[in-house]
């Protein structure tokens, strides 16, 4: 099985730079989700890997083999599109078998491979059904099964859940998860949905404006975003940011000390008197009815119900307003005047330009 390496990959659409000199290796045996807002270049990258689009500059390797001269059909890839591609008029079994017949595999080999994928994708009950009788979720499973049965080195998914309704999405996700845990192909999965990416991806390549901003495990990106965009894009709502925080020096350490923060930390570069940005996720802020050491006085200016019946509070602290998430039971009895606590170990540090700074908090 082959890893995918892209070297100096750039794609221009006339004056518009869709991909900006990308250099990455996507590991074999892993699901990499290309995630980002529309227009970030994720589908362009997938299409170049598939050979459906030519890059302007750079190279694509599968293992140590440069695939640029190869047509899509010669790249040993399997691809699943937004809309399930199935052969209507054939039953599920025949749909999976057709490419294997074309590849002139023996009866025994065909049967073996079909049995394997059918089990992997829990399609046992649908085998004899005509594809026209299936819902879109099962149809999409059939198109995945057909691609997997061909045993390509690389599997590419282009927003495969777009046309599956909510009830069948869960089944597709579950099947996908079980399947990918049992496969050792390199899998690239394009989506704009952060939940899909965080649930299905072993790693996420977060994209913006033709760049890959961060390529890491989902939880790592969520907890340690590489920049303010990543902090904002993942999470609903994203991180709270407090910009223009003055850094002072105190006892050979740096500090941010004001009405909201009281942080002491170390950093490898000289940032004396610099201004930085501090970020914290809404669910990491604690909201309290009573004052306690380290808490700050705030005022609830808005309270709405969000995911899972939680409350999303807009809390005014000094000149700033921050989003705070709390459970229904915590949020229900809250008065307008509250206290909030921003745990130091949950705070992310960024430069004014929004790049992550790896600061070490002093142990207090």
């Amino acid at each position: 099985m082959a890893e995918i390496t892209i070297k100096n990959l750039t794609k221009m659409f006339s004056d518009f730079k869709a991909l900006n000199n990308l250099n990455y290796t996507f590991s074999t045996g892993e699901v990499t989700c290309l995630l980002g807002p529309s227009g970030c270049g994720k589908t362009t990258l997938l299409r170049i890997i598939a050979g459906l689009l030519d890059q302007t500059e750079g190279e694509v390797f599968f293992g140590d083999r440069c695939v640029d001269p190869l047509k899509p059909r010669d790249r040993k890839i399997g691809m699943v599109f937004q809309y399930p591609v199935v052969f209507s008029g054939l039953d599920v079994y025949r749909n999976i078998e057709l490419p294997l017949l074309i590849a002139k595999l023996s009866v025994k080999e065909r049967r073996k491979r079909i049995e394997e994928v059918v089990e992997l994708l829990s399609l046992q009950d649908s085998l004899k059904l005509m594809v026209n009788e299936l819902d879109n979720g099962t149809r999409q499973k059939v198109s995945v099964a057909r691609e997997v049965a061909r045993q390509p080195e690389i599997l590419l998914f282009d927003e495969p859940m777009t046309n599956i309704d909510a009830t069948n999405k869960l089944e597709f996700k579950r099947t996908f998860k079980v399947m990918t845990e049992n496969l050792n192909q390199t899998i690239i999965y394009v989506t704009h949905d952060q939940t899909e990416a965080m649930t299905l991806g072993d790693k996420i390549a977060l994209m913006k404006d033709g760049d890959i901003i961060q390529y890491e495990k989902p939880r790592q990106i969520y907890a340690n975003p590489a920049n303010t965009f990543a902090g904002w894009f993942l999470g609903n709502p994203g991180m709270n940011f407090f910009s223009n925080q003055n850094v002072i020096t105190s006892n050979s350490m740096y500090a941010v000390k004001n009405d909201i923060f009281d942080l002491k930390f170390k950093y490898e570069k000289n940032i004396e008197n610099a201004e930085i940005v501090l970020g914290i996720r809404p669910e990491d802020i604690k909201v309290l009815n009573k004052n306690e050491p380290g808490a700050i006085k705030g005022k609830i200016v808005k309270r709405t119900i969000v995911i899972g019946g939680q409350y999303l509070l807009k809390v005014e602290i000094g000149d700033a307003v921050c989003s705070v998430k709390c459970s229904d039971s915590t949020g229900f009895g809250l008065e307008k005047n509250v206290y909030i606590r921003l745990p130091a170990n949950k705070i992310s540090f960024f430069t004014l330009k929004g790049e992550r700074m790896d600061c070490k908090l002093s142990a207090k």
Binding site: P37, S38, G39, A166, L170, K173, R174, K177, H192, D193, Q194, T195, M198, T199, P218, R219, Y222, W232, F233, L234, G235, N236, P237, G238, R281, P282, E283, T304, I305, V306, I307, G308, G309, Q310, L312, K325, S327, D328
Partner: protein
């Protein structure tokens, strides 16, 4: 606070389909009211009646205290933001926004100051010289909203203005829209098919289902204490858990009975209920608690974990309980701790709501038997 719009006892039907049978809704000054419903649920009839594009069959609609029937459509002074925004491709962003004012023959100075003001409010001040084709989807949407809001009105009707946009963009524009509504001190009547959007924006929500208005109330009431099962099903994310069963009445005590599940009930006395009637027990995902200590007051069981869906701040835990798929939602700290295939669930009976299968009416709540 003055009342801007008041529907009382409004009736409206198309041939044999009765959409509004006795529709009541009071929209106060500076309020944002969401009309929530799936496409085809009949929600836009409210917008059309308000705009004067359609009549009604009975009841009264008061517009700023005046019978709406006496005000022709063109003179109602209601701003309208439609679902699909057709920007003029040959005009700049400035001219697109200025269009309604130009049409109303306003002075150049007035147009300039108003366009600039609304563009600043929507963060598109630096795009005014661009053409629509140079804009991203979200920017186009902002321009269209600006055009809809530029002509001063005290009431605006917005027809699902964020449908089809990326999730993050919607999140951003929701904040912008609510802020704008407050800054303009205007009344918004806002239709949407996204229940989280309605919960995030609205002071009041009117829920439409299957060509009927089934419930109105503030977000708190609509989410926490829905009187109708379809409201319970439609509002909130992740979806509510539903367990079909029967009512059992034994020596004045009522129970909900399903496979391996028995819940003591407090019946709503205003509704008569008969023994053995088919009902559905609804439990919100956040009320299925995981990894908590045993507590005799709680309903408890061991269930199988099917799939964890990671939302970032929260994790949806899909479970199999008595051959039925249910879901719980927990914070990510707790979600990360769930690694076993089998875990214990705790449910407080107080959080269980019982609706009849046939009519979907709320008939009972769970009560604790012990503790």
């Amino acid at each position: 606070m003055a009342t801007k719009v008041e529907f009382s006892g409004v009736k409206k039907g198309y041939r044999k389909i009765e959409i509004l049978s006795d529709f009541n809704l009071v929209v106060e000054d500076n309020e944002l009211v969401a009309i929530l419903g799936k496409p085809g649920s009949g929600k836009s009839v409210i917008l059309r009646i308000l705009l004067g594009l359609e009549g009604y069959d009975g009841g009264t609609v008061l517009l700023r205290g005046e019978d709406a029937n006496s005000v022709p459509s063109g003179k109602r002074g209601i701003g309208y933001i439609p679902q699909s925004f057709a920007l003029f491709p040959n005009l700049s962003v400035y001219d697109n926004i200025a269009y309604p004012l130009t049409l109303a023959k306003k002075s150049v100075e007035e147009i300039k100051s108003k366009v600039n003001m609304i563009a600043e409010m929507l963060n598109i001040g630096d795009l005014l010289n661009n053409k629509p084709e140079q804009l991203s989807g979200g920017e186009k949407q902002r321009v269209a909203i600006a055009r809809g809001l530029v002509k001063e009105n005290d009431i605006y009707v917005l027809d699902d203005p964020l449908v089809g946009l990326d999730f993050k963009l919607r999140e951003q524009l929701q904040v912008d829209l609510r802020r704008l509504q407050e800054e303009l001190s205007a009344t918004f009547v806002y239709s949407t098919s996204d229940s989280l959007e309605a919960l995030a924006l609205a002071d009041k929500i009117a829920v439409f289902y299957d060509m009927k208005c089934i419930e109105t109330g503030d977000p708190e009431q609509i989410y926490r204490e829905p009187k109708n099962i379809d409201t319970m099903r439609m509002v909130g994310f992740p979806d509510v858990n539903q367990i079909p069963g029967k009512i059992q009445i034994k020596s004045d005590k009522a129970y909900f009975k399903a496979k391996n599940l028995s819940v003591k009930l407090e019946l709503d006395n205003s509704i008569s209920i008969i023994d053995r009637v088919d009902v559905i027990a609804c439990i919100r995902p956040e009320h299925i608690k995981l990894l908590e200590h045993k507590n005799p007051a709680m309903i408890t069981d061991t269930v199988k974990v099917i799939l964890k869906e990671d939302l970032g701040g929260e994790v949806i835990i899909n479970l199999k309980w008595n051959d039925k798929e249910v879901r719980s939602v927990v914070g990510h700290d707790l979600g990360d701790r769930i690694i076993e295939n089998e875990i214990r669930i705790n449910i407080d009976p107080l959080n269980i709501r019982i609706y009849t299968s046939e009519t979907g009416v709320l008939v009972a709540k769970g009560v604790r038997e012990h503790g």
